[in-house]
């Protein structure tokens, strides 16, 4: 029979969570002998026999299907290189960049120039060094100049909320346009700088308190 050893909600790396072969190590854990041990600092989630640790902080790992915000870093012959907040730039090929016909030898800066902010999706990840982006999809576009902020990628689900409830609330209350990428970048554009600042603060607040309960009520009060 397996037993859960820890009573903590937050586990730290190296902490023994459970003993016995009845439980299975899932994300953020590994098995050593009979025991299941946490590898990251995070919240403990037990789903049936599976033991998960949801990280509270951590670097972004790209995966296919994610929508991300990036800035154009380099323009090459066949496409663009985009900084999406990982160690190496992601590739945006000419084919995936626009539906328009691009003539041979055309100046690619006409479509996306240096430091342009784009909202794109990840189509393919081979290694950290080989990530492909695409601009084909709903809502994917070049974003106009705005406030680009970095948040912890692990807090993005809390910022978006259930079916986008949290982000809609912030958008509504601050009257800002907000786009959030799964790579931990958020783009804000409001009518006034005060509005933008308010949205910025709201997102930072969620980042700091996202693991606590009663977050929605807390944020409602903050935005009033």
């Amino acid at each position: 029979m397996g037993t859960i050893i820890t009573k903590d909600r937050i586990v730290i790396p190296g902490q023994v969570i459970a003993e016995g072969m009845d439980y299975l190590p899932a994300k953020g854990t590994f098995r050593e002998g009979e025991s299941i041990i946490a590898t990251v600092l995070g919240l403990l989630r037990i789903e049936g026999r599976l033991i998960n640790v949801v990280p509270l902080r951590g670097p972004y790992l790209p995966k296919a299907g994610d929508v991300v915000i990036g800035t154009i870093e380099e323009i090459g012959f066949g496409g663009w290189q985009v900084d999406i907040g990982i160690a190496y730039p992601a590739n945006l090929s000419m084919k995936e960049a626009t539906k328009e016909f691009i003539e041979r030898g055309a100046d690619l800066a006409r479509y996306y120039n240096f430091n342009d902010i784009i909202f794109a999706t990840i189509t393919n990840v081979i290694r950290l060094k080989a990530v492909d982006l695409s601009m084909n999809g709903q809502g994917l576009r070049k974003l106009p100049p705005g406030r680009l902020i970095d948040v912890d990628p692990t807090k993005i689900p809390r910022i978006i909320g259930k079916q986008g409830s949290m982000i809609s609330m912030i958008k509504e209350k601050t009257k800002c346009q907000i786009v959030v990428g799964q790579n931990g970048k958020a783009w804000i554009k409001g009518e006034t700088a005060e509005d933008e600042l308010k949205a910025d603060q709201a997102i930072r607040k969620i980042e700091a308190e996202g693991h606590n309960e009663g977050l929605t009520e807390h944020m409602e009060k903050f935005l009033e």
């Binding site: 903590d8 937050i10 730290i12 790396p13 190296g14 902490q15 023994v16 953020g28 590994f30 050593e32 041990i37 590898t39 990251v40 600092l41 995070g42 990280p55 509270l56 902080r57 951590g58 670097p59 790992l61 990982i86 160690a87 190496y88 290694r127 950290l128 060094k129 692990t154 700091a208 308190e209 693991h211 606590n212």
Partner: protein, 233 residues
């Protein structure tokens, strides 16, 4: 003359007063401050990021790079700033002592940089540095099999003592300094250095003492990491 009473009045098996906190540097991915007595270590983690020069890259996993630096005003006699033979050695052994617990297989071709700064020193800086680095890596969310805890034990005069101070290291009758780093869960040593003379039995005694000290530090580190989420309520 036998060593009967410690300079700071502690018991021979007593550790100095400790404190720690994480998330102190906002621009770093993870950071920590670890203080033991008058020794303070600050660690900042950056990355995973692009590694240059290219030949250092590993295609199957990330690389850990540690940098230990004592600031010029950290010691009583001004230290010449910048890298030295000593700091290069400590950077190297710190990296080697933390590497075994890290799992960098998800970050191939990248580097994780750990910068350890000592703003104030009173012996045991490399151990404080390792503790701070280990806390900062956990704070950065890098996958680790365990934390790494380090303490210096040794001999002052004729006594085996825990957590030596600078005064004891410079003791007239010779002192032995043994920095030890270990993984608290299964007690594996990841660092063991020795500077001075010690007999086999005394070394064994010192290592038992080190285990006791490490357990004490580990309790503090666990508490620090958990509390970093509580206080923001």
């Amino acid at each position: 003359m036998a060593y009967t009473k410690r300079f700071d009045g502690r018991g021979f098996e007593e550790i100095r007063k400790m404190s720690a906190e994480v998330g102190i540097i906002s621009r770093a991915k993870g950071s920590a401050r670890f203080q033991i007595g008058d020794t303070i270590a600050i660690a900042a983690v950056h990355g995973p990021r692009e590694l240059h020069p290219r030949f250092l890259r590993k295609p199957d996993k990330g690389v850990l790079r540690c940098d230990y630096d004592m600031v010029s005003f950290s010691v009583s006699e001004r230290k010449r700033p910048g890298s030295s033979r000593r700091s290069m050695e400590i950077s190297h052994v710190t990296g080697k002592s933390i590497e075994p617990v890290l799992d960098l297989s998800k970050y191939p071709n990248t580097v994780i940089d750990v910068f350890i700064t000592i703003p104030q020193a009173n012996a045991g800086t490399r151990c404080a540095g390792i503790c701070a680095a280990s806390l900062a890596l956990a704070d950065a969310g890098i996958p680790m099999k365990d934390l790494v805890v380090a303490i210096s034990v040794g001999k002052a005069g004729d006594k085996v003592v825990m957590d030596l101070t600078k005064e004891e290291e410079d003791h007239a009758e010779g002192a032995t300094d043994i920095p030890v780093a270990m993984t608290p869960r299964n007690g594996e040593y990841t660092l063991l250095q020795l500077d001075g003379d010690i007999s086999k039995d005394e070394l064994k005694e010192a290592l038992v003492l080190a285990k006791k000290g490490c357990d004490e530090i580990y309790t503090l580190m666990q508490k620090t990491l958990r509390d970093s989420f509580k206080e923001k309520k």
